[in-house]
Symmetry: C2
Subunit: 329 residues, 2 copies
């Protein structure tokens, strides 16, 4: 496997043309990949995540060390046997320019932004580290794997609801880092309170957490599979919950189509584990909403809907690419 590292793309004198490591840091696990200069996955590691800034830095560094060890002698002619760059996808409020992270609740990071990128870089002996929001990293990885060259939005159906948008080959971050934040579009003044402080946000009706609230069956993290199985078996209560929830997700998808209008609209996040029945339910809601409108039918939003593949470390691959795109400091 490491033989792929030889050849003209091998790490140059400054190490920047060499191996890039991408980390997808979540509340339960850290997924890591090492990409060769041509983009091939040379090594892959998965480890348990941690809680608190220091512990997460240490756990992330351990994954980088393990991947570096996996690559063995092929890194020895890079400066100090290090990767050229490390990219990190992480939940919470991320400032990619400063490498700071705040409000990553599942990782035990508080509201104050902490310099996660600089801390990891220091722990790794100065390897350049780029930090990005996990949804944005996933969007970059999805573009790489599903739609090279085309614009794409990745709608993440997890605890929250947010999209990563890639247009013209680059992440759309927005002037205030709010690009793709459709989950906090407040549409129903009589709706549920949202953690963001508004009421009736799309996130309160179209996220994984909203689905779990509406269908609290199947145990931790399994409510979506349970709901779609029950609806598929014809349970009328499950069908009603599924269709209402899918209609709200379809509204989030339409919002992306009528603003950024990317060619590919990709469903990801924890609920994507449901697979094809999820895509079918949302596509059916999109078709129903478009039935009376030649304009909307012409946009064929339902046909542009795809699922993020499971079992592939999409976010980690995107994180590795992120380092490449942003360049080393």
């Amino acid at each position: 496997m490491t033989a792929l590292l030889t050849g003209p793309g091998r790490a140059g004198a400054d190490g920047r043309a060499g191996v890039r490591i991408g980390l997808d840091i979540g509340g339960t696990k850290i997924e890591g990949v090492a990409l060769g200069p041509g983009g091939a996955v040379l090594a892959r590691r998965r480890a348990r995540s941690a809680e608190g800034v220091r512990a997460v830095v240490e756990a992330a560094a351990a994954v980088v060390d393990a991947l570096t060890a996996d690559l063995g002698t092929d890194l020895t002619d890079a400066p100090a046997g290090r990767p050229a760059a490390v990219g990190v996808g992480i939940p919470g409020l991320v400032d990619p320019a400063a490498g700071t992270v705040g409000d990553a609740v599942n990782l035990g990071f508080g509201p104050d932004r902490v310099p996660f990128g600089p801390a990891l870089s220091a722990r790794l002996g100065g390897v350049p580290v780029t930090v990005e929001n996990d949804v944005n990293a996933t969007a970059l990885g999805a573009r790489e794997l599903l739609a090279p060259g085309a614009d794409l939005a990745l709608l993440s159906l997890g605890t929250g609801l947010a999209a990563g948008v890639v247009v013209g080959g680059a992440l759309l971050r927005g002037a205030r880092g709010a690009a793709g934040e459709v989950g906090h579009l407040a549409l129903d003044p009589r709706g549920l309170p949202c953690p963001c402080g508004q009421r009736g946000c799309l996130e309160t009706v179209a996220s994984g957490a909203a689905l779990r609230r509406a269908w609290p069956h199947g145990g931790e993290g399994r409510s979506a599979e349970h709901l779609f199985a029950a609806a598929g078996a014809g349970d009328p209560a499950a069908v009603a919950v599924r269709d209402a929830w899918a209609g709200a997700v379809a509204l989030a998808v339409r919002t992306l189509a009528l603003t950024c209008d990317p060619e590919h609209l990709v469903l990801g996040g924890g609920v994507a584990a449901v697979g094809e029945p999820l895509r079918e339910a949302v596509a059916a809601a999109l078709r129903a909403q478009a039935a009376g409108s030649r304009f909307l039918r012409g946009l064929a939003v339902d046909e542009r809907l795809t699922l993020l593949p499971t079992g592939t470390p999409v976010a980690a691959v995107g994180a590795a690419r992120l380092g490449e795109r942003t360049g080393a400091p």
Copy 2:
């Protein structure tokens, strides 16, 4: 004035570095400008518009001829005394690649797309013509005049409701030409039918036409000024109509901020003639919607709201730039 044309920027052998003409074609008038190589407005013309494809081509060509004549001898060393390029902003469904236009109801264009760009180019003896949706042309002009270098969305409050979005220096057109079409986000299943075939679109509550429906006073095209004057004078019915309408416009603005997140959010279209009271009403609605949300307040959407200046041929300037950006065929 034409002396500005001399110097190093003068039209080269292929004519492409020379004078560019921009046309803003509306239902009542055609506005035209001639821009020098450095971007200065060298000449400006306004003419009555026409109805039907042939008549509109002829009226547009007459404006180009008049601007060319205004420039006099300064064009005589360009090939055949012609401008380097003509850009056109026009309402309706525009395919910029083919130069076709359809559904431009105010110009008497039917649903079938007609090759407007090629027809105007032929009438002008082969001058390259680029055609773009009028809202997009206005967005390009607004960026030029208000926010060079920054991303911008221009929300046009006219008969319809649509935005032109400029990110990374380029128009965001979208995979199906639907970028910025927030007006057709259907949010209220019990709302009014929309010309697009859906029900409860933002356009049915937040456009100039929606305002006129809610406040049918002041005569043709003056209902917005009438409403804001009456509300400003304290008429409670006018205050209620203004605030409900401004709240719907604020929702369209927030939708742009939470998807594309451009630094500048500019209100344009016929209603923008109201001026500062319009901006204040929408900004107040944005502040009220953000009051309970630290997240939303942090985005400072109200502070990013500006008005398109009136009396400046923004759309025609943007149309002229369009020719430049797209390049001559």
